[in-house]
Symmetry: C2
C-alpha cells in the first residue's frame, strides 16, 4: 500500500510509492529513455492494460476489444490505490495515511499518434468530455478531496509512453499548489470583491501584450509572471470555479482553443516536451466566487536547477510579451 | 535590466531575464548538452571570467592570475544585476521591480574536477568558508533580503559547466519556499514552544531508520517525506537559524559530513546528477528560535511531470528507510 506522508514543516504531501518501490540500483541505468517496440495503448492490445473503466466505442463492440476512440483504464502502476481506508495516523512528530485514491489513464486515440493535435476537433472534444465525466464520477467518492487531470508529452516532461494519453490522479487531500491558489485568490476577493482571474482576463484582453487567442468563451494568454518560457494559460472568460461543471455547449470551443494553442506551440518550438494541467476547485467546494478553473500548459525547455528547488523562484529567459509576439507570427 | 515579477495569485516571484533573453528559436536545438572543449573555470583561464571578487590564493599571487584554490567571480550571465534601484511599481493588477541582486560563482578548485568529493577535507572546508564569508559580505547591502547558496551537478540537474562550482544568488525579496518553511516552523513553535527541526533531529537520531551520519555537531538523514529518492538533509544538531553565523570551530566537521554524504550518494548511485541548497534565515532576522538552517541534497533521478507541477505533490518510488538501509551498506 502506498503511503501519503506529510512534510511537517511545509505541509507538502509526498506519495511514497512502496508498491512500485524501486531498488536504488534501478536508477543507475534508467535515465536512458527506452524506445519501446511494443505499445500497450495501441488498438489490438486492449488485453495488455487493466480492464477499461470507460470508452467511446462503436455501438456493438465489446469492452476491452477494438472499436474505441477514447479509452480510460486504471494505471498499471498506480501511484495511489482505489481500495481501502485512509487510516490516518502519526509516527512520532510525523503524519501519514494510506495512499488511497485513483490513478487513471485516458488513451486519446487507438492510433499511435504522439500528439493530441493530430486528432480532429470532434475527437478532441470527446477527450475533454472524457476528462469531465471521469472527474464527475470520481467526485462521488467521499474519501477523495481533489482530482488533477494532466498530460505529459515527451521524455523530458516525464512521459514514459509515446502514444498520446492523459492521466487523472485523485487524492484524498487537496494539494498544496491548489491551496496556495485558493488562498491567494480568496485574499484578493476579500479585499476587492472580485475574482482575480477575471481581472487578469480583462487586463490581458485589453492590453493584448501576452494574448495568444481570444475566442468567444475562452481565452489563451501567457501569464504576466510565467515560470517557464512559453507557459500558456487557457481560461473560460466567464467565471466558473470547477472544470467538471463545464456545460456540453462549451465543449467544442474548449477543444478548439486547446488544440490551436498546442498547434502553435508545436510549430513554434518544433514539438517541445510539455505538460498541461487542469486546475479546478476541490471536491468539497461548489461555485466558489474567488476561484477560476484553468489549464496551464508548460513547455519544458529549461532545466529546473538548485536555485528553483531552493527558493520557489523561477528564472525565465523569455519575457511573455516576446513569446506572444513570436507566436502571433506562427501561422497554423 | 532583468525584472522581478510577482504572480498575483500565489505570490511566487519570477525573474524575467530580459538581458539574457533568448530568442524562441534558441530552444529548438539547445536541449542537446554541448561537451565544451574550453573551460573558463580552469587554472590559466582567469581572464575568461569577470574579475574575481574573492579568492584563497598563495601569498604573493595577483588577483585574476594562477595560484588560487577557491575563486569567486560574478556570473557572466547573471540572473540579477548588482547595480541600481529596485524601483518597485505596478502594471495594472500586477507587481514588479527591477531585478537587482547578486549572482556569484564559487569555483571550488583550479583543476577540472567534476566532483567536490575529489578535494581534500581542508579544501572543502575552504569552500564552506567561502560560502559563509560571501554571504556575510552581501548581507550588508540593505537592498537585499535573502541569499541562497546552491550547487548544480550534471546536465539533468541544470549544470551548464562541468568544472565543479557552486552559486550564490542574492535576491531583494525572501523566496516563497523559505517563507513557507518559516511559516510552518513558526506555527509549530507557537504551538509547542520548540523548534520543529530540533524535534526532527531528536527523532531521527533515536529511531535511526533514516539516518545517514550522526557526527558530533552535525547529522545527515533522509527526511520522512522526501520529494526525491535519496533526498538527504544535513543539519547542525544544535539550534541555529543562520548558516552565515557558523563559527570557525564547526567548519571542519561540516566539510567532513558534507563530503562523506556526497561520497556515499556518488558511490551508491554512480555519480548521479544532483543539487544541493543551503537553506538559511532571511537577512533581516537574527537568531530565530523557530528556524534552523540546513542543507538539502536532492539527487535528480526521477522526472518531474505534470502531476508534480500541478499539485506540489511528489511521487517518490524509494521509501527513505530503504534509501538509508542501502546507503549503510555502501562503504566509503
Amino acid at each position: 500500500m502506498p503511503e501519503l506522508r506529510k512534510d511537517p514543516i511545509t505541509g507538502r504531501w509526498v506519495i511514497i510509492a512502496t508498491d512500485r518501490a524501486k531498488r536504488p540500483t534501478d536508477f543507475i541505468t534508467e535515465n536512458q529513455p527506452v524506445k519501446a517496440s511494443f505499445c500497450p495503448f495501441c488498438e489490438g492490445n486492449e488485453d495488455k492494460t487493466p480492464p477499461e473503466i470507460f470508452a467511446f466505442r462503436k455501438s456493438g463492440t465489446l469492452p476491452n476489444t477494438k472499436g474505441w476512440d477514447v479509452r480510460v483504464v486504471p494505471n498499471k502502476f498506480p501511484a495511489l490505490r482505489i481500495e481501502g481506508d485512509l487510516a490516518k495516523r502519526g509516527e512520532g512528530i510525523y503524519d501519514k495515511m494510506n495512499g488511497i485514491g485513483a490513478h487513471e489513464v485516458i488513451i486519446e486515440t487507438p492510433r499511435h499518434d504522439i500528439s493530441l493535435t493530430a486528432l480532429d476537433d470532434g475527437h478532441v472534444q470527446n477527450v475533454i468530455r472524457t476528462y469531465r465525466d471521469r472527474l464527475r464520477d470520481l467526485k462521488k467518492d467521499k474519501r477523495f478531496g481533489y482530482g488533477m487531470l494532466f498530460k505529459n508529452v515527451g521524455v523530458a516532461a516525464g512521459a514514459s509512453l509515446e502514444h498520446t494519453h492523459s492521466q487523472l490522479i485523485v487524492t484524498p487531500v487537496v494539494p498544496k499548489a491548489v491551496i496556495e491558489e485558493m488562498r491567494g485568490s480568496e485574499a484578493f476577493f476579500n479585499y476587492r470583491g472580485r475574482c482575480i482571474y477575471c481581472d487578469m482576463i480583462r487586463q490581458e484582453i485589453e492590453t493584448e501584450d501576452r494574448l495568444v487567442f481570444n475566442h468567444n468563451k475562452f481565452v489563451a494568454f501567457h501569464p504576466y509572471a510565467p515560470r517557464f518560457p512559453f507557459e500558456t494559460w487557457i481560461l473560460p472568460k466567464y467565471h466558473a470555479s470547477h472544470f467538471e461543471d463545464l456545460p456540453d455547449s462549451d465543449m467544442e470551443e474548449l477543444a478548439v482553443i486547446l488544440k490551436r494553442t498546442l498547434l502553435k506551440l508545436e510549430k513554434a518550438l518544433d514539438y517541445p516536451p510539455y505538460n498541461y494541467i487542469i486546475h479546478t476547485g476541490p471536491f468539497d467546494k461548489a461555485n466558489m466566487n474567488y476561484y477560476h478553473w484553468h489549464i496551464e500548459i508548460i513547455p519544458r525547455l529549461t532545466k529546473v536547477a538548485g536555485f528553483e528547488w531552493g527558493t520557489g523562484f523561477y528564472i525565465n529567459p523569455v519575457p511573455p510579451e516576446n513569446a506572444a509576439q513570436f507566436l502571433r507570427e506562427i501561422k497554423i
